[in-house]
Subunit: 229 residues, 2 copies
């Protein structure tokens, strides 16, 4: 366990340096674009180069954010919406999510923070998001809704999809925590929702299957707000 | 363990897509540079932009190589020299390695491959390389030599440094496998050479302390060549 964590640790420590090296190159590129534009105004090609360089800068930012977060061995104040924004931006590297799924995302910036480990929260939420996305692979409609809201007591994350419903054991209601399967989309052994439930429980939160029918399903995760921490 | 491995798996699966997105942007940049050069020959600024874009492309290649390698759950044919080249290129993100250490690296391209897991070989060799680099942090001379050679029976990796020697228990020769300490350079719990020895032993290889004195030390790792695999 520690050794695996170490791989992230080493990578997470190197990633800022890697990002720094790439950002250095980007800075030189941006600098020369500015110089060029100043000397030769009116060339539209330069704007395109600049725009693409900005896109690279953004991706490197997400990558760096994830690597540092995952590698962190310290509890920190985590903004769930920022974490999700970062992870979803990286998820656009997945062609299915990027091109085939209609996405409706609502991540209010003023969501209160949770004190915890980035790796926990990212693992728990991404397990459910990937489970939800995977269930739409064969569906005709592929609509994914992710929203975060908060009230005085809870931070609530709703994940809805139009994918196939969860099936239960005979005569029993489906149990989210029993989900443990291989995802063709992202890789083997990814989705284990029992582990996800345990992580959420460690933060005194809950996950539940709010609706589950042939037209889709909705999973809700609630974290109690932490007062005075 | 599996969950930790999963994080790499998810990341490793996403990384080609991330690299693809960045390479797409780079392709647009390269394309417009070409167009620009064709239309307006003789502007040197464009060469600088192109050169920096190439540097970004290289870094993304190393990053992608590592992420895919670490995430792989399949045995594959590993060229130790290519693996080391990739890892050392990423290690240039570490300012100490990049700027303070004098490096002599000899990685012959024609080194035979080993059948195994990228994660094993990278963990084992990087543990030793990081241990060696760390031991030079306080040294006046910081000279690091890494060479790979092969003969009919063995692939041999030599790691030399001018750092502080390894100390043994009273009256005993120093034992490499007893090394287990926190590295200020890369992060906590990184260097555990007992684990490294175990991984090398799984490949029927050995690690040994060839020399150990105040002017520096040399560690050697031998892997038997695998015939007819």
């Amino acid at each position: 366990m520690l050794d695996e964590a170490n791989r992230w640790a080493v990578f997470g420590r190197l990633m800022p340096g890697i990002a720094h090296n790439i950002n250095n190159s980007l800075a030189v590129i941006f600098g020369h674009i500015q110089l060029y534009k100043f000397k030769h105004p009116g060339f539209k090609e330069m704007d395109i180069i600049q725009e693409q360089a900005h896109q690279i800068k953004n991706i490197i930012g997400y990558l760096s954010g994830k690597a540092c977060g995952e590698a962190s061995t310290q509890k920190s104040s985590i903004n769930i919406c920022k974490l999700l924004e970062n992870e979803l931006n990286l998820l656009t590297a997945d062609p299915f999510y990027k091109h085939e799924v209609k996405k409706t995302i609502d991540l209010p910036k003023d969501t209160p923070c949770i004190n915890g480990y980035y790796r926990d929260i990212s693992f728990a939420l991404l397990s459910i998001i990937n489970f939800s996305l995977d269930s739409m692979m064969e569906a005709d409609r592929k609509e994914f809704v992710l929203s975060v809201s908060s009230d005085d007591d809870y931070i609530t994350i709703n994940v809805s999809d139009t994918g196939k419903p969860l099936s239960g054991q005979q005569n029993e209601a489906p149990d989210l925590a029993s989900v443990d399967y291989q995802s063709a989309r992202i890789g083997k052994y990814i989705v284990n929702l029992a582990k996800t439930r345990d992580i959420i429980a460690r933060y005194h939160g809950e996950m539940s299957l709010i609706s589950n029918n042939p037209s889709g399903k909705k999973i809700q995760i609630c974290f109690p707000k932490q007062h005075d921490q």
